[in-house]
């Protein structure tokens, strides 16, 4: 269970999140939709612990632990994962080295044994195959020179390896071709389970055809303005966000 209460956050003195209240039930897939600039990515960064966003009020609890007290790496070890809207390129850092370091860093923080090179390689090869990630990808520097779609697949590969308890997917569908979308959705669906909570940020119903959400929220102007079932996504697709934008849209 993830409880977000009255979450306010600002960047460079500008308030972006203006009191978010969200209860994410364990084992469920929650979708967030909302207009550009409404604060969806900001919310995802704040959940993952990015330091340039200042949380000015509110709390985020995951299974009784206050996430906002934790460093980004501690949140990761606690099971938080963010698939970035814009995955970061890291020249010179080989994907395989990065993945292995990440998997083992989390295992170490949780007091588990580290995987040796062979065990890790087998694990990563299996996941790559399942997600249709090209073999040479792990020999390349992280995201450098990867296409938009390849980067998104890399994010899902990382999620599959790290098996988080709480995964936030920020527009993971954008940039994916139809086949990739299916593969990625399948990857998410395979991970779905009683212990795993998903927060899926998207602009399109199409993704939600493959990853069926349990709950859909609308985020507009830094607040959750409506919550409903999967049908809400369809309504939004038909009608847009005008009704939520109030004066700004008029």
């Amino acid at each position: 269970m993830i409880e977000i209460k009255n979450l306010h956050a600002e960047i460079d003195g500008k308030e972006i999140l203006k009191g978010i209240d969200l209860n994410l039930e364990k084992g469920k897939v929650h979708a967030i939709m909302g207009p550009n600039g409404s604060g969806k990515s900001t919310l995802s960064y704040v959940l993952a612990g990015r330091e340039d966003y200042e949380v000015t009020d509110g709390s985020v609890q995951m299974d009784g632990v206050d996430l906002l007290d934790l460093e980004p790496e501690e949140r990761a070890a606690a099971g938080v994962f963010l698939a970035f809207q814009y995955p970061v390129e890291i020249p010179g850092v080989q994907m395989s080295n990065f993945l292995k370091t990440a998997v083992n860093a989390q295992r170490k923080q949780r007091g588990e044994d580290e995987l040796d090179a062979l065990a890790f390689l087998k694990l990563v090869k299996d996941k790559m195959k399942a997600l249709g990630v090209k073999d040479d990808m792990i020999k390349r520097p992280v995201n450098v020179g990867a296409s938009g779609g390849e980067k998104k697949r890399n994010e899902v590969l990382q999620m599959a390896l790290l098996e988080p308890k709480f995964a936030v997917l920020d527009e993971t569908d954008s940039g994916l071709d139809i086949d990739a979308l299916k593969i990625v959705a399948e990857g998410v669906n395979q991970l779905r389970g009683e212990d795993r909570t998903f927060l899926v940020i998207t602009h399109y119903q199409r993704l939600l055809d493959y990853i069926k959400p349990d709950v859909v929220h609308v985020l507009a102007n830094g607040k959750i303005v409506k919550t409903g079932g999967p049908e809400l996504a369809q309504e939004l697709e038909a009608r847009g966000y005008a009704e939520f934008l109030g004066e700004e849209a008029a």
Partner: protein, 415 residues
């Protein structure tokens, strides 16, 4: 092989004189052994001593020494070591002790030992050279005959003597088509000054890989002057890893004198405390269609300081030259500093040259990305710093050296 000529072309001499070499001039005067030996040698030393006595040692008043002042660090160095500390392995018939060959030096060796490739009025580049000339006593001569490809790397382990100046010389000659790898290891604690002079002749089609791991203790001063001449289709690959020392001056002058030759000068500096590491390179292109690369990456903590002064000089007629210089520095602390001065002078046609210098901090975005995957801040930083220096290490041709360097890098990061 063509001789390098007319390297002199700097404008009128700077009127520089410094009265700061008395200690070493006295040490010279008091050492009878330096006045003995064949005439050419005695006069080489004497001329050098006279010059040093008259002109002194470099200070930041000289443009080429603007960022590096050795004097505070050498003020407690007084004696001059009778025998510089070095061990060459394996003992091979290609290698001779300079102390032995000096007495009956063949013509070619004499001519190398007495060369002064920079005009005397370019004194800023010659001062430390003259200091080595003055104390020419020992060192190593490596002479690889034409066609011989030496498969095992020759290592030279240098060290210093407490309170003393050492002036080891190295003369390395590769015949046509020869191949050689040398690994210099510099280790030792204490307050000493090692001023090395290395002269290299690479004949047509030969390949020389020249690696240096500088890991002296934090009080040592290390200055070195390399002069290399690269023949037609030949290749020189140099790499210095500066980890240790109080002050390091790595000065390389490369004359690319044969067509189609290649010259790569690489370096990484990993500095902390109040260390200073100065990379001063000059590549002179004197023949057509040659490539040169100067590529330095520096990572600095605390109050440390990195310096890159790189120059590419393309002579008239050296058409089709590609000459690159790049210095990238990461400053990990507020007090750290990087000074860069890349220069280009071109008098030929169809030349591709570029120089670039960046100085900055680690990017926050990738750091957050890595941490969001569970890496601690230190692990994330280490991974990124490793990646940063790896881009230089990747260029090296020798796989064993690459591994050694990467190990040392990760050791440094764990400090």
């Amino acid at each position: 092989m063509k001789q390098a000529q007319n390297l002199a072309r700097m404008p009128a001499p700077a009127r520089y004189k410094a009265d700061n070499a008395a200690t070493f001039v006295e040490a010279f005067e008091g050492n009878a052994a330096l006045k003995e030996g064949p005439e050419w040698l005695v006069s080489l030393r004497q001329e050098a001593a006279d010059t040093v006595a008259e002109m002194g040692l470099p200070t930041p008043k000289l443009e080429r020494w603007k960022y590096t002042n050795v004097h505070p660090a050498i003020k407690d160095v007084s004696g001059v070591a009778a025998k510089p500390g070095f061990v060459v392995k394996p003992v091979d018939k290609l290698v001779t002790d300079l102390s032995e060959s000096l007495q009956n030096a063949p013509e070619w060796l004499q001519s190398i030992l007495t060369e002064r490739p920079h005009a005397t009025f370019r004194y800023a580049d010659m001062m430390m050279w003259e200091l080595a000339n003055m104390f020419t006593q020992d060192g190593v001569v490596i002479d690889v005959p034409a066609g011989q490809k030496v498969s095992e790397a020759i290592t030279i382990d240098f060290t210093g003597h407490e309170g003393q100046l050492s002036a080891p010389r190295a003369v390395i000659r590769l015949g046509e088509g020869a191949e050689l790898t040398i690994i210099e290891n510099h280790k030792g604690e204490g307050q000493f000054w090692n001023n090395a002079l290395i002269q290299i002749k690479i004949a047509d089609g030969a390949k020389f890989r020249h690696y240096r791991m500088q890991e002296y203790g934090s009080k040592a001063v290390y200055t070195q002057n390399t002069h290399v001449e690269i023949g037609e289709g030949a290749h020189y690959e140099a790499f210095t890893m500066a980890l240790g020392g109080n002050i390091t001056r790595n000065q390389v002058h490369a004359a690319v004198i044969g067509g189609g030759a290649e010259c790569d000068i690489y370096g990484i500096n990993l500095l902390d405390g109040s260390q200073i590491s100065d990379s001063t390179f000059e590549v002179e292109h004197m023949a057509e269609n040659c490539n040169s690369n100067q590529f330095i990456r520096s990572v600095m903590r605390d109050q440390s300081k990195g310096i890159f002064q790189g120059k590419v000089y393309v002579h008239e007629g050296a058409d089709g030259t590609d000459g690159y210089q790049l210095s990238n520095a990461l400053l990990l602390s507020e007090g750290a500093e990087m000074d860069t001065k890349p220069e280009l002078e071109i008098y030929a046609d169809d030349v591709k040259c570029s120089h670039g210098a960046t100085t900055g901090q680690l990017d926050e975005e990738p750091l957050f990305y890595l941490r969001s995957r569970g890496l601690s801040e230190n692990e994330a930083r280490a991974l990124m710093i490793e990646a940063f220096v790896n881009e230089v290490v990747e260029k090296l041709a020798d796989e064993t050296v690459k591994d050694v360097v990467l190990q040392k890098v990760s050791q440094w990061l764990k400090l």
